[in-house]
């Protein structure tokens, strides 16, 4: 363990010596563009997301999402399934009587989460699970509705029969939890309460501190650079913590001030922390790329830039493979033309991202241009503004190929 820390300290020293002179002009050798390229862009112009109504999940080579919300005209839920190898889209419809009324009764405008395991789709609303199964005619049939006692924010299938519920929210009790829920018995079969060092930050998005890949569960912190890996029985496999004296944390004064506010008054707490929030370093997302690779997204307040570290596991230790890759995104000149390998990755802007083998999928609910490829940055923004004068943002999916693990 001590050795690992020493290695990480060493790595960190390397990272610290890499001075970013001007984050607005990223050096191309440090750009994520070297490793990713867009293959396909799918636009769903009739899907307008309302208050983060877009809920998605992955399973093997498929992405499933629904954008059902209370603004829809009927109680028919539309669910999309995308095969990321051939970009084929299947659309499923399922009628759920008075579901919009139910959503409003629990002060929600959409489902809270979705999970898929190749044959079953589970929708979560408040304390309910709506479970559907795909039949051989490609139709969704309702299996049942189940109430769960556990409070959680995210869920995903661990395997065919086990759902993972994840809680990480300041005003929840407990604030953090990972539950294993047996879909056959409809009960929790295991649970742990992992440490999360700055629960107050759970009010701020983007946040992605949990991921699942082949029976492995990743749990990352946010106010410090550390992450844990658990196996299918929630036993700790690995623990990595990067020590950095210059890492800026939320001040004790801010924490004390916010802790005096009633936990359920989220807007008041957000307002209280808003000023200090921009001055802290954060681990903003964590993804498992495959059994031996991980991507960690870090926001450094000083440079005001988000960058990605790619980690790999060798000889039982985690080491950095690619250090501080950053998305040059739209940080370039207005006349520069957007190409397949210079399209910004959505997750730096808060969209949802999934890694699957050599593919990377980014889902945006803030799209206004169907095809940005070969447009100049200036033309892109002009097209976006023109569209938004009379239309609303729509859902768009980018399928990239990546070589981050090669």
């Amino acid at each position: 363990m001590f050795g690992l820390i020493l290695v990480l300290l060493g790595l960190n020293t390397v990272a610290q010596t890499k001075v970013i002179e001007n984050p607005n002009i990223p050096k191309i050798e440090n750009s994520i563009s070297e490793y990713v390229s867009v293959d396909t862009i799918l636009s769903f112009t009739n899907e307008v997301a309302v208050n983060r109504s877009l809920k998605s999940c992955k399973w093997e080579n498929e992405i499933v999402f629904t954008n059902f919300n209370t603004n829809k005209n009927s109680d028919t839920i539309v669910i999309y399934r995308i095969n990321i190898v051939d970009a084929n889209v299947d659309t499923f419809y399922v009628y759920e009587k008075r579901i919009r009324e139910r959503m409003k009764s629990v002060y929600s405008s959409s489902f809270d989460a979705i999970a898929y395991n190749g044959s079953k789709i589970v929708l979560n609303l408040y304390d309910e699970l709506y479970v559907y199964e795909l039949d051989s005619n490609h139709k969704l049939n309702k299996i049942g509705k189940y109430t769960v006692a556990e409070d959680f924010r995210e869920m995903a299938f661990l395997n065919d029969s086990v759902l993972v519920f994840v809680q990480n929210y300041y005003s929840a009790s407990p604030q953090t939890a990972i539950y294993l829920y047996d879909m056959l018995e409809h009960k929790v079969i295991n649970k742990i309460f992992p440490h999360f060092n700055t629960p107050l930050l759970s009010f701020f998005s983007p946040q992605k501190n949990f991921d699942i890949y082949e029976n492995r569960i990743l749990w990352a912190n946010r106010g410090e650079y550390s992450f844990l890996l658990f196996d299918r029985d929630l036993k700790k496999l690995d623990s990595v913590s990067v020590v950095n004296k210059n890492w800026k944390q939320l001040s004790k004064k801010a924490k004390r001030k916010a802790s005096k506010i009633k936990k359920t008054h989220a807007p008041d707490i957000i307002y209280c922390l808003n000023k200090g929030y921009n001055n802290i370093d954060q681990l903003q997302f964590a993804y498992i790329l495959d059994t031996n690779h991980m991507a960690i997204g870090v926001h450094r307040a000083k440079e005001n830039v988000l960058y990605i570290d790619v980690w790999y596991r060798i000889g039982g230790e985690w080491k950095i493979k690619h250090n501080a890759l950053y998305d040059d995104g739209f940080m370039f000149k207005p006349e520069r033309v957007i190409r397949r390998n210079t399209l910004p990755l959505g997750f730096l802007g808060g969209s949802k991202v999934y890694f699957m083998d050599n593919k990377l999928v980014s889902i945006s609910d803030k799209a206004a241009v169907e095809n940005p490829i070969n447009l100049s940055v200036k033309d892109y923004f002009m097209a976006q503004n023109k569209y938004l004068e009379t239309n609303e943002y729509f859902v768009q999916i980018f399928i990239y190929s990546h070589t981050l693990t090669d």
């Binding site: 307008v48 997301a49 309302v50 208050n51 919300n69 209370t70 603004n71 002060y107 405008s109 008054h265 989220a266 807007p267 008041d268 957000i270 307002y271 803030k366 206004a368 976006q384 503004n385 938004l388 004068e389 609303e392 943002y393």
Partner: protein, 168 residues
């Protein structure tokens, strides 16, 4: 002395250019001024995307009830203006989830701050939802988020606060 007179003249000329703050100025998303009834009582809910969800539902419900009881009351939702049309569009979409299907509520934007302070700036609106009431006698009243939701989420309290300001 001569300069003082010139400055004074310029000051008064400039005053003529400034819109009276007590008149509600209403703009659409493209920054075009739209007409409203200046002689009526206009209730304006100030909203942004960080507004408390339950508070906004409750406040909107109260204001719709008040409008039902007094048809001379106009109800608007004011969104923070931005140079980025996308920001305003996202706020508009977010707002739509609160508005009941059978109710029509005009959405207006806090734009054109060149000749006057924006409402969000003038009333120091950092926490929302809050309420601005433009009375037919040209008086403007402001009810802050803290006044309405600081200690409780009480529908009767909010109702009474707004009705009291209108003069019921």
């Amino acid at each position: 002395m001569r300069y003082t007179i010139v400055v004074a003249i310029l000051f008064f000329l400039n005053m003529g250019m400034v819109y009276p703050q007590n008149h509600l100025k209403v703009y659409n998303i493209l920054g075009q001024e739209i007409t409203y009834k200046p002689d009526a009582t206009n209730i304006v809910i100030c909203y942004n995307t960080t507004s408390c969800h339950a508070c906004m539902e409750l406040l909107l419900h109260c204001c719709i009830e008040i409008r039902r009881q007094d048809t001379s009351v106009n109800l608007y939702v004011l969104l923070e203006g931005s140079k980025d049309i996308g920001v305003m569009r996202a706020s508009t979409t977010s707002l739509s989830s609160y508005v009941p299907r059978d109710e029509k509520i005009e959405v207006i934007y806090d734009l054109n701050p060149i000749k006057r302070k924006s409402y969000f700036s003038k009333y120091h609106i950092s926490m929302s939802p809050s309420v601005l009431i433009f009375m037919d006698n040209k008086k403007t009243k402001y009810i802050s988020y803290e006044e309405m939701f600081g200690k409780s989420y009480d529908k009767n309290k909010i109702n009474a606060l707004i009705l009291n300001q209108i003069g019921y």
